[in-house]
């Protein structure tokens, strides 16, 4: 009893072939979209690789680019197949290629499935890389004279402005590092000397944040320095002040941006798989089971699976078992020999 079978007469087959031809060209367009999405994602990762310690994994965008190109090729070939399917001469030439093409498509869909899993699972890796990278970025903020790190300040400032965030978890991360370079500190000044001596490592720590943490939506000109000291500013209470600087941490902000991209990639891939699988299977089975190949106008059946779902699974399992047993010696074969001797 075939699984989800439908009857097809000539007209319906023609309609199916035409519909599938359009679907295949749509799938080519989707392949192009996947390719450009991969390139976009790769560029976005590169843009911010400094705050990820230059350590980020480019596995997902690289695979996506590959998948996009493969998808274009396979679906263009599938479209050509549909185009030739209703002409019996051309189809009989194509018929031997059909089975390998189907297998290739199945393999391709397995790759797509893998990519879906990766795009959901790699988000953890991105999160961890971001946490580490931002911590280092805040530490190296002041090193604008060290080769290799001289643009860290600008990158981190632009990130905080663009993503509307401050620090790693929140703004207090800035209180724990020295973010003003010693070049700009007057070491002969008493205040500076006090601060430097007040902690074990001799760092100049302040309860201040850089200007890029400022929120333009605050009704008050930005208060950057002496944030925890209420008496330093008129009419200021640091416990109730919410709009002055950004409350969100950059790890959270940047991560939600990237996870948004990866989730939409995953969703698009699932949609692509679903569209691909059903269509070609219907058409190829409809055409293979033409009862009378000479008479193109007869009815035929098309299905998704040859037998029912459970039977197909049982079939697959038995095939796998026989494959495993190929190495074992068969018991039935051994005993007549034993009896003969």
């Amino acid at each position: 009893m075939p699984f989800l079978s439908l009857k097809f007469n000539l007209q319906k087959r023609v309609k199916l072939a035409q519909g599938l031809w359009m679907l295949y060209w749509l799938a080519v367009i989707v392949g192009i979209i996947l390719f450009s999405l991969g390139i976009f994602f790769k560029i976005e990762l590169r843009k911010r690789s400094e705050i990820m310690d230059n350590n980020e994994s480019h596995l997902v965008p690289n695979l996506l680019i590959l998948v996009g190109m493969l998808s274009c090729g396979l679906n263009a070939f599938g479209g050509k197949l549909c185009h030739d399917s209703l002409d019996p001469q051309k189809f009989s030439k194509m018929k031997p290629m059909l089975r390998p093409y189907m297998l290739l498509c199945c393999g391709f869909n397995a790759l797509l499935l893998l990519l879906v899993l990766l795009s959901f699972l790699m988000q953890f890796a991105v999160y961890l890389t971001l946490a580490e990278g931002l911590k280092n970025a805040i530490r190296f903020y002041k090193d604008t004279d060290t080769p290799g790190r001289c643009f860290m300040k600008r990158t981190l400032d632009m990130t905080q402005i663009e993503f509307r965030c401050c620090g790693n978890n929140n703004f207090r991360d800035w209180f724990e590092v020295q973010w003003i370079s010693n070049r700009y500190l007057d070491m002969s000044n008493d205040v500076v000397k006090d601060r430097v001596l007040s902690n074990v490592e001799g760092k100049y720590l302040m309860d201040s944040v850089p200007f890029s943490c400022c929120n333009p939506g605050s009704p008050r000109p930005c208060i950057q320095h002496h944030l925890t000291n209420n008496s330093a500013h008129y009419d200021y209470d640091h416990r109730t002040e919410e709009l002055n600087i950004w409350n969100r941490g950059c790890r959270q902000a940047v991560f939600s941006y990237y996870s948004g991209i990866m989730n939409s990639i995953g969703a698009l891939l699932i949609f692509t798989i679903a569209g691909d699988v059903a269509g070609l299977k219907y058409l190829s089975t409809a055409l293979e089971t033409m009862a009378d190949p000479e008479n193109p106008e007869c009815e035929s059946e098309g299905w998704l699976l040859e037998k029912g779902f459970k039977e197909t699974l049982a079939d697959l399992l038995s095939k796998v078992k026989t494959f495993g047993r190929a190495n074992q010696v068969e018991e039935g074969g051994a005993s007549p020999d034993a009896d003969a001797t």
């Binding site: 604008t144 004279d145 001289c150 300040k153 600008r154 400032d157 632009m158 402005i161 973010w179 003003i180 370079s181 070049r183 700009y184 500190l185 007057d186 000044n189 850089p210 200007f211 890029s212 400022c214 333009p216 939506g217 605050s218 009704p219 008050r220 000109p221 930005c222 950057q224 500013h233 008129y234 009419d235």
Partner: protein
């Protein structure tokens, strides 16, 4: 002596019709492109509406949108005419429309040229409008509690960060106004009282700028306050410090941005003008060639296509005569009026004579 005459065989006419059909669909796409360009420009102008005083510059995108829509319509009509052109029964009904179509197409080309000219001519007005708008924006920066102006601060801050500029002409504009609201000033403090008394208007003026003027590319954490005092900060020289704040003024930045937008659309608009002109000329050739073919005894034969039936001077004289005729239609013709007047007088005399005899008898 026709202008730019060309011979068209049946096959050439068919080719011309097909080519013109494709060209007119291309022109429809170009019209859509011009429309989208107008929409994009308008949205960009509307986004910065708050720092612009008047809306003269909106003439450019408005005109672009109008021309885009009209061009889509006109070129769609052209493609329909092409489809009917080789069918002798359906072509004549388009004849009346074609004269109007030529006028519309020529007008569209002129309007597109006007757009290009306007986008350069209105640059001065744009700068003026931005100057006044930015001055007001900076003046009302502190009024975050006044309804209608409470978002001025956020607008100016975001503008300065996005366009990497500071103040109207440069950062010194911030020294001349009070940009810290009185709500956040401690009037019991001696420093505040000194500053307020130091100028006639009683304003709290600083040599400081808002945080949005800070340049992230500076190697040093941003210095916002006491900018003119080299001793207030370690290792700081006011005269030679370049990277600390943005050096450009926002008026210059915005003008450059909009001029850049309009200049980059210049080549696109010029190529659309060229396409429209070629559609116009090809349509004229097609019309005259098909008309000539229909007038022949054998419609499959060769016919002539031209742009103008006579040469420029003769056509101009003809058009002038027709126009004058049209004007004269409103005047009474002097010769026929004289004849009519005499007849009228005779009739009046006759009736007067007929009326007077009875009293005499």
């Amino acid at each position: 002596m026709a202008l730019l005459k060309m011979k068209f065989s049946q096959q050439r006419r068919v080719r011309l019709a097909q080519g013109l059909w494709l060209l007119s669909w291309l022109a429809v796409m170009c019209g859509a492109f011009i429309f989208c360009l107008g929409v994009y420009l308008k949205i960009e102008l509307l986004r910065r509406d708050e720092v612009m005083e008047d809306t003269d510059i909106h003439a450019v995108p408005n005109l672009l949108m109008l021309v885009g829509l009209a061009s889509i319509g006109a070129n769609w009509v052209a493609s329909r005419v092409c489809q009917d052109s080789l069918d002798a029964s359906r072509f004549p009904r388009w004849k009346v429309l074609l004269l109007g179509w030529y006028a519309v197409a020529a007008l569209l080309c002129c309007l597109l040229l006007a757009v290009v000219v306007l986008s350069y001519a209105l640059q001065g007005r744009l700068e003026e409008s931005l100057k006044v708008g930015l001055r007001n924006g900076i003046r009302f920066y502190k009024d975050t509690d006044v309804p209608g102006r409470c978002f001025q601060k956020e607008t100016i801050d975001r503008l300065q960060m996005e366009f990497r500029c500071c103040g109207n002409n440069n950062f010194k504009d911030w020294f001349e106004i009070q940009w810290v609201s009185n709500r956040y000033l401690d009037f019991t403090s001696q420093e505040v009282k000194d500053r307020i008394r130091s100028n006639v208007d009683g304003r709290y003026l600083l040599d400081g700028v808002p945080f949005s003027c800070c340049n992230p590319a500076s190697p040093r954490p941003c210095l916002q306050n006491q900018l003119t005092d080299s001793r207030a900060h370690y290792n700081y020289e006011y005269q030679s410090e370049e990277l600390n704040l943005y050096s450009r003024g926002c008026r210059q930045a915005l003008t450059d941005y909009y001029m850049g937008l309009m200049n980059s659309t210049g080549p696109g608009v010029l190529s659309v003008i060229l396409i429209q002109l070629s559609v116009l000329l090809s349509m004229r050739y097609l019309q005259t060639a098909v008309d000539g073919a229909m007038a022949l005894e054998s419609p499959e034969g060769e016919s002539e296509g031209y742009i103008l039936e006579k040469d420029v001077k003769a056509t101009y004289a003809e058009v002038k005569a027709k126009a004058l005729d049209l004007l004269k239609f409103a005047q009474v013709d002097p010769a026929s009026e004289a004849a009519g007047a005499e007849e009228g007088e005779k009739a009046a005399e006759a009736s007067a004579k007929a009326a007077t005899p009875p009293p005499a008898s």
